[in-house]
Every structure is written in C-alpha cells, then in structure tokens.
C-alpha cells in the first residue's frame, strides 16, 4: 500500500480532475447566441415539419449578411413542449421558439416571459388567430404560422356503394348544414352499407367542441364550468347517439385507425389541412380519398402553431425580425408549398400560388381554394383556459369508454364529472 511520491501526485491530480469534470458538467453553458463583432447567430427551434427549408433560411441570411440562422427540429411537439417549459424563464431556449395551439393556453400563463409582437404587425393575421395568443394586458405573444381549417374528407368509392353522390361539390351540398344533418347522412350511409360512417366519436367531438365559444371554462373568472355547461352535455349525447351505429370506434392515431385509413373502415373524417398529408402518407394505395368544401355547422379550426420570442434571449430584437420575416405572407406560402402548413396571414390567403394549388392524391382537388374557403368560414375563436386540455383529455377518455364498451353513456359521464371536479 505504500505509494511513491509520483503516484501520490498523480492520484491527487486525478482526484481533482474528476471533481473538476463533475463541476464543469453542472456549470451553465455559455451563451451560443452572443454577438461577436456585429455578427449574430440566431437559433430557431421547431418540431415536425414547419416547411422552413435550408433554402428558405438561406434567403434570410442573404438579405441580412450579419445574421446566421440555425434551425433545431424536435421530432414531436411533445418533445418541444417538455423542452419549452423546462427552460422558459431560465436560460437555454432558442431565440425563436415554435409552440403549438395545443399548449398555447399553458404558454399564455407565462406571457410576461415572452417578447410581445410589435403593435404594427398585429393586424396581419386572421382575427381569431391573434385573439387566442393575446393575453389579458393586450400583448400578442405569438407570431402565427399555420392554421388548421377543416373540411370533410370522404371515400368516393364507399359513397358510391351506398348510393350517395361522389362528386366533391355534390357531397358538399349533401353535407351542408349542422351536425344533425351530418349524422343524418351518416344514418343513410350506415343503413345502406352496414359499415361505419366516421372514424371515432372522439375525433368528431373534437370538431364539434372547437365551435363552442367557451366550452369548459368561464373566460372572465377562469372557473371550470364544463360539467354544468348544457352545450357540452348536448354535444356529448349527440355524438354518442350517432356513434352507436355510425362510428368505426377506432381511436384517432391508434394502429387500428391508421389501418382503417387504407382498408375502408370508415367513409368520412373531419379533415384539417395538415390531415391531408397524414391520409396520403398512410393510405398510399387508396385512390378514392377526396375532400369536400363543407363543414358541419360552419367553419372549424383544428391545430396550428405560433413562433414565440423568449424575452430573456440574447438577441431579442434580431429574433423578432426573423420571426416577423418567417411568418410574412410570402414565406407562409412557401412553407405551404414545402410542407402543406396552411397560412394564417390575411394577405397569404389571397395569394395566387395558394389559391391555385391542387392535391394530386385527392383527385386533384383544389385544396388551396377549399381550405381558404374553410378558413374564412371560421367565426368562433374558442376560449381555452389553463385547464382546457386536462378537461378535454378526460372528455376524450369518457367518449372512448363508451365506444369500447367499458361503460354506458351515463356512467362514463358521471366519471368524467368526478374527474373534472378533481382538476385544479
């Protein structure tokens, strides 16, 4: 056990070094976005596919030689969400961070930690797009990127088999009306074929609840009113009554649901713009999917995103300029061409490129024109408070319980009520 002096010295150095390594691991990393002689490096964090290609970002760098733009893409919006809330209010977020409407209500609670959009830009977007991202003090904290105006996707071959019209304009006329009308056609289809008309009660309910102005919470007080709101109960009953015979009972995004896209398990589906890519990507061999320019009970929006600028970033002003540029009409149209993300800016909606675009998979449907019409039909910006998604998740599970036969309608409703009462 006797050590020579040298060994001892080495031991001491090793010990010290290992502690130093540990200490270094805990130290906050230095800022990557610090400006260096007028040069600025900006990071943009997005998820899935925003359509911000290297060429698009290069365009900005060419116009602003002092700026380098680096994009980090998270695989899913859930990853981005976890990352966002861990670092918000601390350090480490990108200069421009993308958020999804799904977690926008959560972000709104921390609107003071984000740099507001300059006042002169605020009226570029659709009203309801900006309303959702404006906090109580009137600050708009998100640069709207895309929206999800909904049409109705349908399978023309299945419609033909049921003796229903197959042309997209005639289908639009057939379905024109409220939800009762939609379920009435469903009844007709189910009687003729014995097959399911829509994919799931959950997916359909999502389209219905997105048209209710204040479904679950009181916009003024923030109290949860979901369990006593007659509108919610009415939608619940309406969709489940129809679901008993007309639903394929396939929970959205489940393996069975994806299988159903290609094997004709259901004839129609509520269809926001980004859903077109989901359908064409997962049912490549089916040639009969089509989209009708209609939506029960007027317009509906499902999904969409914003860009935000964290207020404590190193280059807030430069980041705001970049977010402004990325969400300008020209770039939104380019992003639509790149990834199918439907624009949210007023001027972009009148762009010829957008209006003229068609989708080959959907039998060359004029999707640009259809989705623009659908976007203009949206009149309600539903209020979503901080508990919206917990309540809505519980509701989706309540619908699933009835659909998969675990519980009957009343028992499932009662359980939902007790779950909602435990929230908060």
């Amino acid at each position: 056990m006797k050590l020579s002096r040298r060994t001892r010295a080495i031991a001491a150095v090793t010990g010290a070094a290992s502690i130093a390594i540990i200490a270094a691991g805990c130290a906050p990393s230095s800022d990557s976005g610090s400006s260096d002689g007028g040069k600025v490096e900006l990071t943009v964090a997005t998820f899935n596919d925003f359509g911000y290609t290297d060429e698009l970002l290069q365009e900005y760098m060419d116009a602003n030689p002092n700026v380098t733009v680096v994009q980090n893409v998270a695989a899913t919006s859930n990853d981005a969400r976890a990352n966002y809330f861990q670092k918000l209010g601390k350090k480490g977020l990108a200069d421009v961070e993308a958020i999804e409407v799904d977690w926008l209500p959560e972000v709104m609670q921390y609107s003071d930690l984000l740099a507001p959009v300059p006042a002169d830009l605020q009226d570029r977007w659709l009203d309801w797009k900006t309303d959702a991202a404006t906090d109580a003090d009137g600050n708009l904290i998100g640069y709207g990127t895309d929206i999800g105006p909904e049409g109705v996707c349908y399978r023309s071959d299945l419609f033909a088999a049921a003796g229903l019209p197959t042309d997209r304009e005639e289908v639009a006329k057939l379905l024109d009306g409220d939800w009762a009308k939609y379920f009435e056609v469903g009844e007709q289809y189910t009687k003729a074929t014995g097959a399911a008309f829509f994919d799931s009660a959950g997916g359909t309910y999502q389209g219905m609840i997105n048209q209710v102005e204040a479904a679950y919470e009181d916009p003024d007080s923030g109290d949860i009113t979901a369990t006593t709101n007659p509108e919610v109960e009415d939608l619940y009953n309406q969709v489940l009554d129809a679901s008993a015979t007309q639903s394929a009972h396939l929970g959205q995004w489940s393996d069975d649901w994806f299988a159903g896209l290609s094997n004709g398990a259901y004839a129609t589906m509520l269809c926001p713009g980004w859903m077109l890519g989901v359908i064409s990507g997962n049912a490549e061999d089916v040639t009969t999917w089509d989209i009708a320019n209609t939506f029960p009970n007027g317009g509906g929006n499902w999904g969409g995103s914003y860009l935000t600028v964290p207020a404590n970033g190193a280059n807030v002003e430069e980041a705001q300029k970049l977010a402004d540029w990325l969400t300008a009409p020209e770039q939104q149209v380019k992003a639509f061409e790149n990834a199918g993300t439907f624009p949210s800016q007023n001027d972009a909606l009148t762009s010829d490129t957008l209006l003229g675009s068609t989708n080959e998979y959907f039998n060359n449907a004029p999707v640009g024109q259809i989705l623009t019409d659908r976007a203009n039909a949206v009149t309600v910006a539903p209020f979503k408070g901080q508990f919206y998604f917990q309540v809505n998740d519980a509701m989706q599970q309540a619908l699933t319980r009835v659909e998969d036969g675990t519980q009957d309608k009343q028992a499932s409703w009662d359980q939902w009520v007790s779950e909602v009462e435990a929230i908060g």
Binding site: L3, R8, S254, G260, N263, Q390, Q397, R401
Partner: protein
Amino acid sequence: MTSTKTAPPSAPSPEQARPDRTERTPRRIAFGHKLSKWDLKLSPYLYISPFFILFAITGLFPIAYTAVISFMDWDLVRNSGTFIGFDQYVYVLTQPKFWIALRNTFSIFLLSSVPQLILAVFIATMLDQNIRAKTFWRMGVLLPYVMAPVAVALIFSNMFGDKYGLINTTLADLGLPPVMWHSNAFASHIAISTMVNFRWTGYNTLILLAAMQAIPRDYYEAAAIDGANRFRQFTAITLPSLRPTLIFVIITSTIGGLQIFDEPRMYDQFGTGGANSQWLTISLYLYDIGWGQWNFGRAAALAWILFIIILAIGVINMLVTNRLVRDEGSRDGRSRRDRRAAAIAARTELEHRVGGTVRDDFGSAPTGAATSDTNDKTTEVAR
C-alpha cells in the same frame, strides 16, 4: 491467513538515506510518516469519492429536492412554490386513479416477473446442457434485451391491435372471439407483460446461466452415481445453488417491475394508460401529473409514495432474503459471527494446549476445514 501473523514491514523513510541536514530530519520523518499514514487511510476514500460525489449530485440531491417540492404547490417555469404541507399527499392518496394504478402496477409486475423467472430458469438449464453452437443460443437469448423498449412496444402494439392486430386477426380466422386488448384491463396487463417478458427473460437467463456454470460438476457426477435423474439433480443441486442469484434477480426485477413505464406508455397512441385507466401504472401516472398537467408538487408527492412502496417491498425482500441466505450460507445453521467466534475459541484453545509452536499446524487447518466442508455439502446434496 499467514500475513496477519507477520508484522507489517516498517516504512523505510527516504529521509534517512540523506546524510546532510541532520538537525531537521526528525520533524521531516514525522511528517512523512503522517503523510503515508493519511495516504493509507484516506486514499481509498479519495479513489471512490468520484462516484459518491456524482451520486450526491445526481442521486441524493434530487431525492431531497423532490421531498421539498412535494410539500409545495410548485411552478416549474417560475421556479417558485408555496408551502402547503401534506395536501399533495392527501390529494394523491384520495384519487381513485392512484389505487387503480397501484393495482395495475402489481398486476403487471406479477404477470411479468413470475413467468419470466420460471422461463429464465428453464432456458438457462437448457443452455447449461452440452448442446451444439452454445454461443449462438446464448447470444440469441440476449438479443431481445438489446432492442429498445420503444421498438418492442411498437411491434407488440401492432400485434395487440383490437381490430386489425395480428393476434385478433388470427383468432378471427380460427373462428374465435377477439380479445379486447385495450378495453379489458386484464387483457391489457397480459399484453404489456408479454412485452416485458420478451425483453427481460434473456437477460435474466444469462445471469442464471452464469450462476449455474459456477456449480461444481462433481455434484452432478456424485448425484448421477447415486442414481439421481435429471429432474432430481435439478431440484436438489441446481435450484439450491442458484438461491443467492435468484434473490438478486428477484430484487432487480421487483424494482424494475414497480417502475414499469416504457411499455404501458407506448401501448396506445396517447400514453395515458387507457380510457378507464386499464393499464395506468404508477410511473405513468407520475409522468402524466408532472409532464402532462405540469403539477410538479403533486408529482413529487407521488414520487415519494412510490419510493416508500419500493422501500417497503425492498425490506420485505430483504427479510425473506436473509432467511434464505442464512440457510444457504451457513450449512450448520449458525451465523457467520457465531462461526467466527467458534473459530477464534478453537484457535486460542489450541494455542493454550500446544504453546506458541502451533503456527504450522494452524496454517494448514483452514484447508482441511474447507475440504470437509465440501464433502459435507456433497453428501448433503446427494442425500
């Protein structure tokens, strides 16, 4: 044994070799001595300290911090909270979901651990035989373990689809009613346990196989000569010798089973444990409270409850283990301390009797003891 009897060599000081500066030598020797004494005493601690420093930072601190947060209404983003006492614990314990999650966790744990260990012992026994291409089979059983749990879950959730899954399609072809893998709680537990078993059986098999190979082959020879058949050899030699390893495997799979997360999370598209919490496990519930609802105070309270549950199971495990190990470790029914005391007593008595000249005899004693020991065991095993 003999080294303890010889005195440790006195440390030669390098200072003594130096001829000059005689007046300052004594202090230096003293300091050198001290240093080497510290060296002897402290160095080992220094060498193992990186692990413990790391553990304190990444292990102890989070555990303690979690305890603090569990008494608060915590806001992760603003890093602030208000102290609310035991409210979070009360809330969690009064949630019906918590008790369902507890039930599911234990159900899935039992459904996965028990068949898994039985299967692992069986496969290990087969691999322990003299078969062709041993390495191929041994590598083969470990392959599922190499697969990422998420990949396993993806493949299996395809098989366990309610309508178009492989299993239900096969059942339909055979004219049997489909199994509702996602609405029937017990069916979902079986599906999830299947994923766990698929992945972990091979891992446990290899550990058990290593333990089996350490069993001296003489036992089997002796048993075979005594006329014991394969099954008798397995129950009388293999299983008793595997006890300590089995205990290790049981404890690790208990901890793993109680923390099960990946498989139930990947079992459906939402990862929230089913519409009626059919396969909601405690870790899944914990994740949902923390990362779904952003309620970290509540999640921390649940984390501590889970910690206490695992601790309680660990204590039960340890009590059972201690009994089993004592049976195995001391064949004469005495504890290690008793045996050591007896050995010391025997030695002093011997020294008393023969005076100080017994060293050689004594040195050979342990070998004799070990031999007789082995013989004892062999006869006991063959009996």
